[in-house]
Amino acid sequence: MLKTFSIGGIHPPENKLSVSAAITELPIPKTVVIPLAQHLGVPSKPIVQKGDQVKVGQLIAQSNGFISANIHASVSGKVVKIEPSADSTGYKRDAIFIETEGDEWMDGIDRSATLVKEIKLDRNAIIDKIAQSGIVGLGGATFPSHVKTMVPKGKKAEYLLINGVECEPYLTADHRLMLEKTNELVVGIQILMKALDVKKAIIGIENNKPDAIAIMKEAVKNIEGIKVQALKVQYPQGGEKQLISAVLGREVPSGGLPIDIGAVVYNVGSVFAIYEAVQKNKPLVERVVTITGKQVKKPSNFKVRIGTSVLELIEQAGGLPENTGKILNGGPMMGKALAQLDVPVVKGSSGILLIPEQEAIRKEVFTCIRCTKCISVCPMGLEPYLLGIEGEKGLYDKMENDRVMDCIECGSCSYVCPAGRPLLDYIRLGKGKVGQIIRKRNTK
């Protein structure tokens, strides 16, 4: 029996259409729009002005608090303006616009493909380098990576878990990275083991990627402390709490963090970025993005400069299909629907998914028939049907009591509901309100 997480879960059709498309470099865009808020926490502070000339890899906005991250220029050229621009959320937020001129990189950045194995930096220097390079969780959560390396006093990291699960249907960016940058990832893992002072690292990969499991296993077979763990295919296994449960059999306590049970989790995309930052001195200026969809001509995996318009990805993948009904930033389970196409790829963009019109519309909603399917799939052991009814009626006290804040918003409940109830919509609404109530109570 393959390992998986302890309760709930679903298995939607995988649709990994772009799985055999090797990572290719997208042509450098003519302009980029780099939002100042593309990580969890406080938006960064710009340190360039309109008219400034910048090189690729140059710091253009500084981390603005403990949970915040640096931002670097992803192209060389001129800063044309700094003003609000719509991002993938649909809201207008401050962004730096750069017009590309050539492709001039900062000195000291090693862009060669040579593998650098020897880790010269010490622990603190590694953490500092990760922070300087603006690396965030590239699985989509965008939590600043250096913060996780700073284990709080009294806690001890025991296991480093590498998230190669990629459980969202359609997405293949992490899968391709594991196949194509295997050795770089191994060095990246060793860097993190050094930074966290852990002896054991486990790479979790779902069993629908046998090639990635095989190649990673081969790469780590003579390395002490690093192991590959094949996992049963089960969404949302890429969720931090579910991955830890699947690999270690430990449950992160309600309201707690992975470090509370001795685990730290990094996505393979972040590990690769950390390798490049520490060994090649390269800040996070590009990432791998899957562009896919049933009607897309050439489902692809592109290496994309941060700030590139989504429109350019779509054009490179064969253009926008006539019957497109919805465009997602991310996978079909947790991705965000875009309201417009001229929004930039950001650090957290793992994929762009085009959904045909007939699949884009929501189902008609019926009364809950109490079939219990939402309960059986909820990976957090919640009662989505009940939270849905309470959310609809605005019973926020009850929602808090029924632990709405534990919801990880994986969407499994809405996915299975035969009555087509938008359970997660009500739960999100409740989480927002309950969050406000809790904050108000705590500040009293």
């Binding site: 006539e322 919805k326 309201a339 009364t367 996915y415």
Partner: protein, 331 residues
């Protein structure tokens, strides 16, 4: 391209629907219907059609003219309710009684609470109990299986059900052995060659439907197994403690409506508990109540009452029995 749709995640759906579940149960009931027709003849077809058509019609009329909403009879729930009502009554009941029973089933037990999803009690069972109380003679006059004229006339021979014979015999002080010797053997009871309500007689047919429901993941095993298991264990304890008190456990699960009730009535989504533990508690209580009513009560059969009583406890069970939560117990 037209405008882009924007909605919160998730953006895909399993494709499951209310009607898929309802029609799934209807399909699972086909073997039971076929055995019913085989053993009871056209009477079975007549009452099934009468119940299904009147349930669907009443639901349509109430939604259209009283609620003034778009009728949802196509979701299959009214068809299913009608089918289950028919399965719970003798095939010799007059049609007008079935129509009044359907009116109570749909009108009072289902629509007066707001329709599908809102009814606290299983509608078909409410209808059945209403009919049992209102028409006690017709509702306890049972057709004899395999009567010669069953395909030519609805006026077949009538007789008693195994449970009825048992109750009456024990009441008169007859020995259990003597009573059992007048009845079909367990093999015939398993096949369905016994008197009883239209759809309850054949254990094998009902079990085939159960396997189908499990395969389609429409229901889980918890309620049926806990109901049947607890009838088996509890009647077994009573039988072996005092063999003259009641028949053995196999008799109890094959006679009467335990199979039909456990697999198709107690598992009604709307009126049964939401968690696995809750389902087990609910199922075990139904089993115990069924045996208590059968052995110590006034009626020979008790499954309908047992399910209705436990329907009343479902909200309480849901309130106190919660699913296993992720990350709850941690230092």
């Amino acid at each position: 391209m037209n405008k882009l749709f924007v909605s919160p995640s998730p953006h895909i759906h399993s494709g499951d629907s209310v009607s898929k579940n309802m029609y799934g149960v209807i399909i699972a009931l086909i073997p039971a219907f076929m055995t019913s027709v085989w053993f009871f003849g056209i009477g079975s077809i007549v009452i099934t059609l009468a119940a299904v058509l009147s349930c669907v019609l009443f639901e349509y009329l109430i939604q259209k003219y009283m609620f003034k909403t778009a009728p949802t009879i196509s979701d299959g729930s009214a068809i299913l309710t009608g089918l289950l009502l028919a399965f719970n009554i003798p095939t010799t009941v007059p049609i007008w009684m079935i129509i009044t029973g359907s009116l109570v089933t749909i009108g009072i037990a289902k629509m007066s609470f707001g329709g599908l999803g809102n009814n606290p009690f299983n509608p078909a069972l409410v209808g059945r109990v209403f009919m049992l109380i209102s028409y006690p003679v017709q509702m306890t006059t049972w057709p004899v299986p395999m009567s010669d004229n069953r395909f030519t006339s609805i006026d077949g021979l009538t007789g008693a059900t195994p449970l009825g014979v048992l109750k009456e015999g024990l009441g008169k002080g007859d020995k259990l052995e003597t009573i059992l010797s007048q009845m079909p053997d367990l093999g015939n009871m398993f096949l369905g060659n016994i008197g009883g309500s239209a759809g309850e007689i054949s254990a094998i047919a009902l079990l085939i439907g159960f396997v189908y429901l499990l395969w389609r993941k429409i229901i889980t095993w918890h309620i049926p197994v806990s109901v049947i298991g607890s009838v088996f264990i509890f009647s077994g304890i009573l039988h072996f403690a005092n063999p003259e008190l009641t028949a053995g456990p196999v008799f109890h699960i094959l006679a009467g409506g335990v199979m039909l009730g456990a697999i198709y009535m107690a598992t009604d989504y709307v009126t049964s508990p939401m968690t696995i533990t809750g389902m087990l508690i609910y199922g075990i209580c139904i089993g115990i109540l069924t045996v208590l009513i059968r052995v110590f009560g006034a009626y020979p059969e008790g499954i309908s009452f047992a399910i209705l009583i436990m329907n009343a406890f479902t909200p309480l069970i849901n309130l106190y029995v919660k699913p296993k939560r992720f990350g709850r117990v941690r230092s």
